[in-house]
Symmetry: C2
Subunit: 258 residues, 2 copies
């Protein structure tokens, strides 16, 4: 439990990671913790102790009885208690905790709907997995209300940015694209793994700054995230999208990396 | 205390109010609760029970030993526990709690510094006192690092929006201005009280959509919030601003209203 004066609870002042665990093994652990440390730097928070973070995750998996299964581990770091209003206390004492649940599987392709809520490229938080994730919650709500599974979020300039809980990739004329981070995009661990896996096979992924027309014109669209890996998209704003053999190829490449 | 699965803690999924209490009297209570209910409507949360909210605030004041003093009461409503990832559970059980502390007084004029973090006019959360307040925390941090007390936040279009924890007003050629809500501005309770108090005296407040050049050209600048009332500004990005008799007048009008 967390006290009522925790800054994560009161203000969204903190960060999290969502990590896939397979039979107790934390997949891409180093990449997750490197991202968490980089986020701490941006927010001005002391980074967590790596050994303590690992123990918290392993304990959460064990307590959830998921040591032999696929688990979604959520590691949360708050700025801790204290301070007055927006201002942090002079001595920060961050709070770290982990929880685990059975990891979801994406059995079907995703149906996407473009949300009205947009991402903010003028805030570093749009590139972080911060505790201030309400815009993502609202974008997902919009998508569900539109009969879809997941949202496409544009940024305030109208550029394609990401899904609510995944990064976006698309294929056009045989080339792979994903939005550039400065579009206000979470620096996804699986996004980086896909880019690295593609490069290792001589396939460049172009980091793009494009409007939604470009996405609509794509030959295929994919989602990536640590929990789902690579998931094909079969509907974008009500329009069917063909399955691409590339989705299967990407998923295999990523399975090799992860 | 709050459990680790609270959506307010994990995702910033919730709202808050900061209410001034004087000798146990909750100032502008109806306006605060009306705003909280309106925010619930936007987020899709069931509104809190008004009597329960009032009791929570009164209990917090009493427990803090502030029944005879000036207290800052924080009323927090989270979306409660449950759901999976971004998705809320089918049956929402919001969590409501209040805390109280001695209310700060603004003894000196404010020094403002313009932050790089900008507000997002394409998200309803920029107009709400939501638990996802990290951008405000970061804007305030920038201001403190620049030797100021409080931030000026522009929106992603470059329009003047608000301070990190207050609304902005300015005076030019004898006319009062404040940014329009659709600039990505919190619908401040004191902002509305100032507009109403000015109107009652035949002074219109123009709701403006202007760039920072307009603010720099102002004859005087003020901050408003429930806790501080009206506070004059004497420095904007290092440039001195003259004190205006209007600040005192506004403060008196607001004291009549509140």
């Amino acid at each position: 439990v967390t006290p009522f004066d925790d800054r994560g609870l009161l203000l969204g002042d903190g960060l999290f990671e969502t990590i896939l665990a397979r039979q107790g093994e934390l997949v891409l652990w180093d990449a997750h913790l490197t991202r968490l440390q980089a986020g701490c730097e941006v927010l001005g928070l002391p980074p967590p102790d790596l050994a303590e973070a690992r123990r918290a995750c392993e304990r959460a998996i064990a307590e959830a009885g998921l040591a032999g299964a696929r688990a979604a581990v959520r590691l949360t770091l708050t700025a801790g208690s204290g301070g007055r209003g927006l201002d942090r206390p002079a001595a920060l004492a961050p709070r770290l905790f982990a929880t685990a649940a059975a990891a979801p599987r994406a059995e079907t392709p995703a149906r996407l709907a473009t949300a009205h809520v947009r991402r903010n490229p003028h805030s570093p938080t749009s590139r972080l997995k911060s505790l201030a994730y309400l815009d993502n919650v609202l974008a997902r709500r919009e998508a569900l209300a539109a009969g879809a599974d997941e949202a496409v979020m544009l940024n305030t300039r109208g550029e394609v940015a990401s899904a609510a809980a995944a990064n976006l990739f698309w294929l056009m004329d045989g080339r792979l694209f994903t939005p550039a981070l400065d579009c206000g995009v979470l620096a996804g661990v699986m996004r980086a793994a896909v880019i690295a896996a593609a490069q290792a096979r001589g396939e460049a992924v172009a980091e793009a700054r494009v409007g939604e027309g470009e996405l609509r014109a794509a030959d295929a669209v994919f989602l990536t995230s640590s929990l789902i890996g690579v998931r094909p998209v079969n509907v974008l704003d009500g329009r069917p999208l063909a399955a691409s053999p590339m989705a299967g190829a990407l998923a295999r490449w990523v399975a090799d990396v992860a």
